[in-house]
Amino acid sequence: MKTALVIEDSFEIRENLSEILELAGYNVIAIDNGKQGVATAITEKPDFILCDILMPQVNGYDVLRELKNDPAAATIPFIFVTASAEKREMEHALTMGVDGYIRKPFDDKELFAAIDRVLAR
């Protein structure tokens, strides 16, 4: 069973996303802030990470940067799940080495297509 790490500060989204993934057969670890998300990713080494960008204190970019700097976590497929519609944010994320990008709101089809793409690499 694949393990997914969900880092999302919105309770409703975090819960719903976890539930959708669990119903699809994934083992889910849900974290509500960036700092703990980084620590969990390093210790738990999930198969992929779904991370919000806009979060208080440690945002999604910080999380990605920290993990890319950690040899043990650098290779974990990383997908941004963001409410931002800014094209430059997507470009910035790609330059930082993100593997996938999902814009909110999304449906199941878009979600699993993105997960399948990063896991297939």
């Binding site: 409703e12 989204i13 719903n16 996303l17 931002s84 519609a85 800014e86 814009r103 909110k104």
Partner: protein, 578 residues
């Protein structure tokens, strides 16, 4: 054109030459008349001498013959007296005819004949006091012969002198006539030159008067313009800045009376902050002859400082180079500029607020929408039993509404970005065939039941264009084709690339009326038959912006109930903006 002074000089010179010629002619004519008169007088004298000689020689003959006939010695004194007179006149005649060869020869012949006659008569008087009849007859014959010879000679000489007299009189008359003619001609010439000179001077005088009148008019105009101008005008010395003259608008502007302005400098009047400020302006004027739109903070007497615009130009004034300054109060304009600047800043602030609000709203709406969407998805997964179909129907409705709302948010956001100029075209090499296939694949999931989306490409595969903008354009057009076409219909995407990229999206949908086609790209416009689908009326408006950014063109051909074909054209040369 010949200068007037030269022309008049030429006329006067001509008159002087004519007068001098007239003088020479008169002198020459006088000399000729004199010579001619002398010759005529001489001829008169010669004729007189000839006639007197003829008389004396006849008297001499008469007295001698009387003596011979009567033997009365009383005749002898008369004879000798006549003889003496004859010889003296003969001598005189010889002298008078010395310049005329023919007459001189005749005079010599006459002299010889008279002297022979005298000699013969004298000898007869001395040798025979009582001649015989025969001697007397011989003497008479001899005397007759001499006398005839003398008479003929005298007659020929007189005739010749009379001929000369006639010739000389005629020549004199001709000379006088020629003189008169030339004199009249010269007088006429002088008169004509005088008339021309008079009219030339008069014309020139009139022209000068006219020019002076025009100059006066211009001067009056300048004076009026200068003194009555609503713009402050002043004339000053260049180096010192001493003001030589100014108008009332200038005085009013700087708050000084005219008397206190004339003869003082800008610095002395306290108008400028420093000498360096004046030197800076006048330096530029000296360099370029003219300086415009120099904005200066002027300090009028008894008033608050004002912004003025100064134009300064060098000109000749009373024989010297001066500086003409035109000063315009810019306070109102500056205030207006400040108002506009504030309004613009306010507008920019509002625009920024609007943009920030839309960005924030877009972001903040997406979070609850994500919750709604994901909850709907979970409800769908948990639905079972007899109401599952109704549940699924409402879940689909929720999902569609969320997508519609998201699309509206995206369109508002795109329009804001376009209006802020935050979107710019970044062309890159693109495999158009693959790009269209991928795009088409992503649309197939959105297509209605039985809708077929096909792609056909021809020509070169690589094009140079902004991928994102082209994707946005086609996404909008194909989405419209899907939304406004029925189930089981075809949507065709065609492309052809060479030096241009031609793209078209065609469908068999509801079509667009001719009236609506004219307004298709207007903001918030929705076609009259488009109510069946929700929308903002921004999609094609945004699409047109994207096409303009790519310097492309778009054409819509449509018929109600038959379908729509949208074709686009972009240049496809690297280095030229697409």
């Amino acid at each position: 054109m010949l200068p007037f002074k030269l022309f008049v000089g030429f006329l006067f010179a001509s008159i002087v030459v004519a007068i001098v010629a007239l003088g020479f002619l008169s002198v020459d004519n006088s000399r000729k008349s004199n010579v001619s008169g002398q010759l005529i007088q001489q001829t008169h004298e010669v004729i007189g001498v000839i006639q007197e000689l003829s008389a004396f020689y006849k008297e001499m003959q008469l007295e001698s013959n009387s003596y011979f006939v009567t033997g009365d010695s009383a005749y002898l004194p008369h004879y000798f007296e006549a003889r003496k007179n004859s010889l003296s006149h003969l001598k005189k005649l010889l002298m008078l005819t010395r310049d005329n060869t023919v007459q001189r020869m005749r005079a010599d012949t006459l002299s010889t004949s008279i002297k022979n006659l005298i000699s013969y008569t004298d000898s007869a008087l001395m040798t025979s006091n009582s001649p015989s009849v025969n001697q007397f007859k011989f003497r008479l014959r001899q005397n007759r012969a001499y006398r005839e010879n003398i008479r003929m000679t005298l007659a020929s000489m007189e005739h010749e002198e009379e001929r000369l007299m006639s010739e000389r009189v005629e020549a004199n008359a001709k000379n006088i006539t020629a003189f008169d003619r030339t004199f009249a001609l010269l007088l006429g010439g002088i008169g004509a030159f005088l008339v021309i000179t008079f009219f030339s001077i008069r014309y020139n005088f009139n022209s000068r008067v006219k020019v002076q009148e025009e100059l006066k008019a211009v001067n009056d105009l300048f004076i009026n313009l200068f003194y009555e101008s609503p713009m402050g005008l002043a004339i000053s010395e260049i180096d010192s800045g001493v003001i030589l003259d100014c108008n009332s608008a200038y005085c009013e502007l700087i708050g000084h009376k005219r008397d206190s302005v004339i003869g003082r400098t800008y610095i002395e009047l306290g108008l400028l902050e420093s000498v360096q400020q004046y030197n800076s302006i006048i330096g530029r004027v000296n360099e370029h002859e003219i300086e415009r739109d120099v904005e200066v903070w002027l300090r009028p007497k008894g008033k608050d400082p004002i912004w003025v615009s100064v134009a300064m130009q060098l000109l000749d004034y009373k024989g010297r180079r001066r500086a003409l300054s035109a000063i315009l109060d810019m306070t109102a304009q500056k205030n207006a500029e400040e108002d506009i600047r504030r309004a613009l800043a306010s507008e920019l602030e509002l625009s920024k607020l609007k943009s920030n609000f839309i960005t924030l709203a877009s972001h903040e709406f997406r979070t609850p929408l994500t919750s709604i969407m994901s909850s709907a998805s979970l409800i769908d997964k948990y639905s079972s039993g007899e109401n599952s179909d109704n549940i699924k129907k409402h879940v689909t409705r929720i999902s569609t509404s969320v997508k519609s709302l998201t699309a509206i948010l995206d369109e508002f956001l795109s329009l804001t970005k376009i209006e802020e100029g935050k979107i710019e075209a970044r062309p890159e090499s693109l495999d158009i065939s693959k790009f269209l296939e991928d795009l088409c694949a992503s649309f197939r999931g959105l297509a209605k039941s039985g809708q077929a989306i096909t792609v056909q490409h021809s020509g070169q595969s690589s094009v140079y264009i902004d991928r994102t903008l082209l994707s946005n354009i086609l996404t909008n057009l194909v989405s419209n084709a899907i939304k406004y076409s029925p189930e089981n219909s075809n949507i065709n995407i065609e492309s052809h690339a060479n030096h241009e990229l031609n793209l078209s999206v065609s469908d068999n949908g509801i079509g667009i009326s001719k009236e609506d086609q004219e307004h298709l790209f207007e903001r918030f416009f929705r076609a009259s038959n488009a109510d069946i689908v929700q929308g903002t009326g921004l999609g094609l408006h945004i699409t047109k912006h994207y096409i303009d950014m790519l310097h492309g063109s778009i054409k819509v051909e449509s018929e109600l109930g038959r379908g729509t074909n949208v074709s686009m054209k972009f240049s496809n040369v690297k280095g030229i903006p697409t």
